[in-house]
Assembly symmetry: C2
Homo-oligomer: 339 residues x 2
DNA sequence: GAGTAGCGTTAGAGCGCTCTAACGACGAGA
DNA sequence: TCTCGTCGTTAGAGCGCTCTAACGCTACTC
């Protein structure tokens, strides 16, 4: 047993294999200009020593680690997890390693995670549904390529992947109008990523349907708790809307709970539409009419944009807009007879 | 504009502040032995240059980065997300930075993530619900402290936090028996973390209730898809059980869906118990009777164990067992009249 | 005023790797 | 035989930081 437990280094491997350190380095980087015989010797020595390249030293010397940082705003929201699937697949394909960061529940958590990426000198970062101010994101983007997903950013240095909120909202409103609804209330996502755009999309769609006077917005958030609160507030209102367009599935599911708890039937008494088409919406028990966004594709495209930037193939900012679709299930139906 | 865009280094800061690099280093590490005047000068210089310490160089020189790796087996399962909350809080408190890894959907994804932690020379790792073989985990544990959460491991080098599955299963079985059930089927978690222990706990509890002959186990997994499949298989069986103990909430919710789709009423025709008490179970709409594990506490304690190890305060492996409790909601009731 | 203790500061080696430039060996062409 | 080019290999500088040991300075003691 050695006195001090030390990780084997490249020099150790070189010594064991009877070659120079530089040669070991070439082998580790899979260089083609190493003879088969030497390569085998080095690999064998590395294996017996249990050698594993030190990423710190490697990064320091090469100034590049093939690592990207992904900031997930919320671990609990399945929507983000499914975007992550796409990022993950894209990264594996492009040969990048991914480290994740989350905001946790700490204030300033997003900034902390972003700082971590910067200190770890990640080659780039993907921010999924960040709540950070655009200026803070821009500050980070000055140091490394950054792609924002599921939220628009007005910037010349930041790429983004957004959902066509106008289109989504129009699908929802048209669907409800075709069923005979007029009083369609939107429960928004508060300061959540993309919430402002969704809200604007709703208003525009309502105006487009000549229902400008019916526009009603209730403050909410992307959480179940916010859904409960919004439902309460709606239940207390003088005139009940006949349909609700919720900011996301989670809030929608919580609202349905509350409505049914209050004796209302969905959709007989009130229709509810969610957003994101997470697995929650698909559960028969809930069977929520909702707006689908192609999440894995969004993740994949985010990764593709990032790779373009990191390889220096592009410098102008790009905004990719994906097209959502409506998934009609059983929480929407004709409005109750007028009162 | 400079010809080459280069991150400012400590030397740049030292030059700007008119001090030595070593002094800047001390300031960055918040050493107490720096005069206030110099500290202010350095901070100011760092701020104007936008200096940010290079974690690679720092790690290389200090052999420690105050960073731990957390491997989350599944991003989609809210159970893991809630454990993560506890880890996160604990890490922030202890001054550690967290990087996450996931298996993604790739085969060998867990091993890849673990390798990443090793190459990044993380100070330690927490594996949440890993499916990796114990020997693979042990191999990593030889290089850095490792704590496994939500799964038992038989090893002298690996700490673990597990749920007292026997106790949990006993609570479930006793609850159902007290309602009058005898035919209680377990839909297990397949090769998922802790599934074997949960299965064993069920069998033991059944024997304890003198229902050894009623033991029935249906193969499952921790996913909604597995729940659907298990429900189908149960619906096809000759004699329907009067109660189901599912491996987790997700599978339980999916099963209820399927049962109701087939015309059964829950709990009038069949009782269903979940596991984990995720937010899913709490939704009124589902209102699932389930077993609660103190998830954030599990995360916190995992972090605490890891810190003990990393600080070298302990070398013997520890297994912390947390005690679950039963949350009775509305998916359990007396069995239907005997047929 | 010489000696000394204490404190803030600094020089310089070294962490483990990559990368450039140069090296020797060898075969081809003159 | 000599030069040249090619190819596999290597020496050595350097990446940005930490850390030890030593430094100069002030304050205090006798």
């Amino acid at each position: 047993m050695e006195s001090v437990k030390r990780e084997p280094t490249m020099d150790d491997v070189a010594l064991a294999a009877g070659v120079s350190r530089a040669l070991v380095s070439l082998v580790m980087r899979e260089s083609p200009k190493v003879s088969d015989e030497r390569r085998a010797r080095v690999m064998a020595a590395a294996a017996t020593l249990g050698y594993r390249p030190n990423a710190w030293a490697r990064g320091l010397a090469s100034r590049r680690l093939k690592t990207i940082g992904v900031l997930l705003n919320e671990l609990h929201n399945p929507f983000y997890a499914e975007i992550m699937d796409g990022i993950d697949a894209g990264a594996a394909e492009a040969g990048y390693r991914v480290v994740l960061g989350t905001a946790g529940s700490r204030p300033g958590g997003e900034q902390t995670a972003l700082d971590t990426f910067l200190e770890l000198r990640a080659d780039g970062a993907i921010l999924v549904g960040p709540r950070l101010a655009t200026t803070d994101i821009a500050k980070a983007a000055a140091r490394m390529p950054v792609v924002v997903v599921a939220r628009g950013v007005r910037s010349k240095t930041i790429d983004s992947i957004t959902n066509d909120e106008r289109h989504g909202a129009r699908l929802v409103v048209e669907h409800l109008v075709s069923l005979g609804h007029r009083g369609i209330t939107h429960v928004d996502g508060g300061s959540g990523a993309g919430a402002a755009a969704r809200r604007a999309g709703y208003e525009e769609a309502m105006r487009g349907a000549r229902l400008a006077r019916e526009i009603r917005i209730v403050a909410g958030d992307y959480t179940d708790l916010a859904g409960l609160a919004a439902a309460d507030s709606i239940l207390r209102s003088r005139r009940l809307p006949t349909a609700i367009f919720a900011a996301n599935d989670l809030a929608a599911a919580a609202m349905i709970d509350r409505f049914e708890g209050a004796g209302l039937r969905v959709p007989a008494d009130i229709s509810v539409v969610g957003h994101d088409n997470t697995f929650l919406a698909a559960l028969h028990h809930i069977s929520l009419t909702t707006v689908d966004q192609p999440r894995p594709e969004m993740g994949r495209r985010a990764m593709a944009l990032l790779v373009e930037r990191m390889d220096g193939m592009r410098t102008a900012a790009v905004n990719v807009r994906v097209t959502p679709s409506l998934v009609v299930r059983s929480t929407t139906g004709p409005p109750r007879a007028a009162d």
